[in-house]
Subunit: 458 residues, 2 copies
Amino acid sequence: IPSQEILGFEKGASERGAGRKTRGSIPRQLGSASPLSRSVCTCRVINAEKSEFNEDQAACCQISVRRREPGLEEDQEWLILCSTQFLTGYYWALFDGHGGPEAAIIASDYLHYCIKQKLEEVAGAVAEARPPMHLSGRCVCDSDPQFVEEKHIHAEDVVVGALENAFQECLQLSARSQEAESNTLVHIALQTRLNPQDEVIGQEMEATNQAGGCTALAALYFQGKLYVANAGDSRAILVLKDTTVPMSSEFTPETERQRLQHLAFLFPKLLDGEFTRFEFPRRLKGDDVGQKVLYRDYFMEGWGYKLVEKADLKYPLVHGHGKQARLLGTLSVSRGLGDHQLKVIDTNIEVKPFLSCIPKVEVFDFALHDIKEDDVLIMATDGLWDVLCNEEVAHMARSFLADNRTDPQRFSELAKSLACRARGKKRGHQWMLDDSQEASYDDISVFVIPLHNRVEDC
Amino acid sequence: IPSQEILGFEKGASERGAGRKTRGSIPRQLGSASPLSRSVCTCRVINAEKSEFNEDQAACCQISVRRREPGLEEDQEWLILCSTQFLTGYYWALFDGHGGPEAAIIASDYLHYCIKQKLEEVAGAVAEARPPMHLSGRCVCDSDPQFVEEKHIHAEDVVVGALENAFQECLQLSARSQEAESNTLVHIALQTRLNPQDEVIGQEMEATNQAGGCTALAALYFQGKLYVANAGDSRAILVLKDTTVPMSSEFTPETERQRLQHLAFLFPKLLDGEFTRFEFPRRLKGDDVGQKVLYRDYFMEGWGYKLVEKADLKYPLVHGHGKQARLLGTLSVSRGLGDHQLKVIDTNIEVKPFLSCIPKVEVFDFALHDIKEDDVLIMATDGLWDVLCNEEVAHMARSFLADNRTDPQRFSELAKSLACRARGKKRGHQWMLDDSQEASYDDISVFVIPLHNRVEDC
């Protein structure tokens, strides 16, 4: 892994670092002996009218996983010392904060720590092609290897499990203070089940009232495979010579409508009589009562017609379209970390029960592909993807890298160029794209990670 | 639609109709004036050692949807009479019963009725390219057409919604008697929410204690499009000249593990202390306690290692692999109709809360494809797909139809040939496939529906 680049932009000021930098907006690198630390990592943060601080955060580091010999019990520490080896992984992540940058900062400080911990817990298994039934390697039942084979369990499934568990653990940002806040027993019981309490990680998370939350997009290169875990609306794509491979899906109130509506159907109290779980093409009004209008319930991908009652005039659980879509009129994403204290304005309705921290993990096996010199992984927050589609980004990447083959900074320059393109140019009071479309007013962060000449030992 | 063919097999007796026919095993045709009724419909039922009765059921019919002029209120019946037109659809469905054929018989009698009813309710909208916001056609808000357009709502979405609602309504088989059976308040409350009570349809459904259930796979040709709605483990594929298009996905305890585990996580009482929601590669035993073994929870697609406690020795909610996979040790499917009374043997644990009747609907637009003479839709219950994969079936279909182009019965013969192939031949006490693999011991039903020369007015 020769280098990786990130650019973080906020709108409004000049391009060259004049803005107010928030803590953590320069991706922190851990593990100074890693190839990553030799690479150029640039991060420019530019302030905008939109928000005082850039709420995007980024992190990248090497993750060293201490490996234990299978068969060793946990108390045989002296044996472990003799047989320790390290597996090396590389990690990049983007966090898009809302309600302030705090959750994104905490997540960018801790998610890689959670991942490292979860990988170490299963390190004995991920080094095997077929993970053993028992982590100890002990065989309780002769046909155990056969059971594992029948379930098609491979080492990569254990890495995926570690990533899923790491997000779950990292979710616990400020989980303790939430308990005191919960206003009814029902809500406490439900919150407990929807977001299991776990050990709060690190002093920073214990801190206090973290009102904000963040999305999380994390890429891990480990044992010859790329894992991309996503909870939120950031996106990662692989731009290869002849093809573009999406490595994530977005989780928004629109894409998760059915999950959200189903929860409201199972626990109507969560809406406290203030919202309707039904979706309508627009907010209904008095004149619609008694009419049959288009609607969708939790079990429908299609549309039906519903006879409108007064209760249907309430604000919808999921409302709006595209970038305007909101959960409970409040949030534009449906997965991520944090938000434990978030309530719908002027109500006691908690948003957290509807949020999920479960990432979807995609895996790309480099052994099955012939990676070319200009092949890259591009990760970016929604600020980029709101105005550029996958194919536009892929086209820009291919032509930019081909035109600048001798420039050692070309990956960094590509990241910058992508962010600048989405940011547009100021014309009067508006930021415009080249084709006179309105530009992105959101924070924009971009990683461009070259895939050729990967370190082979990780 | 010139013809469609169905073959239903049970194992064990000779091939030619010697078996015990259950009611409804010959697909019933409604609407005698339809092109369907002119077609040859063969159904052979052959008994097997496996079960006394064939639990598969089939139905096909023409569905005439009375169309009302948009703008007419429901009480203007005399106007409707003047302006009535009919939209014609064609319907084929397979139902695979368990715990007896009763639920499959009821579903095969009523699902098309529910679909017709739901289509009639929205008939004014499905005839328009863009369904109106208000079914009446009245425009309450000037920008209503724009809202509908922004949501990308098309006529086909309203047909999909009608199919989804029809399954929901048909679910209510014997729903009333269930209420008396529920053993705790919690369960009643939950059941009510998980399976909304609705009007019980028809006298036959009111009948009594319907213990059994069934899967449902329904195809509808309507307004130039093919809709396939599936709840269960039957399957439909389109075999076109150059490509095979899957038109359904299977819903089994394995494919729906995460949904089932999540429900058990939210409502642990549903397991009544008798089951564990965790998945392990095999049933755990005493020797595993204290060890870390491979497991999955509801939020994991990957695998982790869990320190085994005594509670983990309970029987798993989802257990077994492939055809052996079972929900609560009881059912091999996770979606379908019926099963309101089903309890785990020797317990008070109800299976119904875990079951879903929500179909997944796939749409195929004939206007976008050049349909060739031998192109067919093949629908079959799991008895066929357990031993033949999509490509084997597609290959057999293409070569059989090419070799028998002059035979007017060739679609019927293909259905028979496919069922015979999956049924295998008796060698000693075993039924074997040609390649010495064990044949299907399940009931086998196959529809082969030619797609060329479709009736253009439906």
